[in-house]
Symmetry: D2
Subunit: 149 residues, 4 copies
């Protein structure tokens, strides 16, 4: 019950920003970036988001034996992205429940300011054996602090 | 109008199947496959689907200067997948319009028969300069032949 | 001493063969395969080599907590390789010492029979903490059986 | 003849430096970075090197229809590299001939200052059809300026 209330009072967190320069390895023979690489950039965005919250994902795994397993990923490709382009990956948490967390992403071409892609990923917190677990309260508090209230 | 009718009479095509063995390169430190690789497997599924229709995607680009640019991708991760697992990527077309085509995917663990992931991608047909174009009639006919009627 | 003799009597093993179809993801904007992917194919070759010896690398890690850490890799790119090409990765062991093993590779275009790349990798056997260890005798015996004597 | 003299008077260029943060995607189930990714980092080093010389590789391809095809790659893996490590990729030209150029790399863990890998790549200048060509004089002059004399 209180958990439901918590959820309903949850607001999306602020955005964090990570900068990326497109690698030649990320292009394909169409002359633009191959589509799976955007999911890698989303991960770079998540990593930066967690660091900004004072919760580096590295420690997350090492100190708490907790892993954010991906349950779902979605990406919309709006404009082509090319080798050597500089991109900004904006990331925020848009849903937060007892055992799941959802991230939202916007990828912007730094030079033009144009939104080139956006997307979402949904994650389940699991232990070292892949079993779902609840977020420790210390995490929840940090994540809640990052919410825009 | 006739185009709309065409769309409404469209039925999903039959499934094609491609076999994949998970590479060590595709795992991450969580001990399972990193999530962006499923989109690469979807592409392997599409390639095999087109070949089965007598329309190898390679020729598609070379002979017609047509490219299937990705507009959207979605994946649901249902069960972990590990190094050396053998997977079946089932692929079919589920939507087909004048300038866009949608593929649907199911990834199955060959040994257990369990569905480990599914997803969809949406593509826009573009020319060599990235401008949207209509599918040539020869393509449409082949794709329609593959529909389950 | 006996170890040195063992080494000096070692002969390269027979070649195993793995088949690969080039993925779109593996190309870059030059229209050919990006150079780091050959190292992934070498790994596919190693995996197949070990399986053929009755020693799947998967079990290697799981049953013996032994890992083949890469110490060195070398690749010569002889002919361009393109999307949808079918390749044969030939793999054999060319050096075998107490704690290290060297693999040799040849990548052949299946349609033309032409050698498109070759290379070598050198590996150190390590335990779960990354510390070098000696090959168990059971491994050595299997690997020696595979030698061309 | 004069070309030979040029070669003999060639000295390695100065090092350029590019910073990289290790991505989760780059790790494998051994808990360290998968070995092919170092070649991608070498490419990031080359891109940065060319930019520092006032010769962005992007323009190289676009303005001159010239491509640096990889002929050979070699990497020595000295220390394990982990997720979220910050690395410095040092790059310089160590050989320069009429149609080929060799790059040398050192990868250093920024926090510890320890050399974690080094390597070399050799490239052939080719035109849009993959045929070897000579470096335009304007390039040669820029590259020579970067040499440590």
């Amino acid at each position: 019950m209180s958990s439901d209330l918590e959820e309903s009072s949850w607001l999306p967190s602020d955005w964090s920003a990570a900068e990326i320069r497109v690698r030649y390895a990320e292009t394909d023979q169409m002359g633009v970036v191959y589509y799976s690489n955007y999911l890698v950039w989303f991960e770079v965005g998540r990593t930066e988001f967690c660091r900004r919250q004072g919760l580096p994902y590295k420690n997350f795994e090492e100190d708490f034996e907790s892993y954010l397993a991906v349950a779902e990923a979605h990406c919309r490709y709006l404009k082509p992205v090319r080798y050597d382009d500089v991109l900004i990956v904006r990331t925020r948490i848009d849903t937060f429940r007892r055992r799941t967390v959802g991230f939202q992403y916007e990828i912007i071409n730094k030079a033009s300011g144009i939104l080139v892609a956006n997307g979402r990923t949904l994650h389940v917190l699991v232990d070292g054996n892949g079993r779902p677990k609840s977020f420790p309260e210390s995490f929840s508090n940090i994540l809640k602090r990052s919410a825009r209230l």
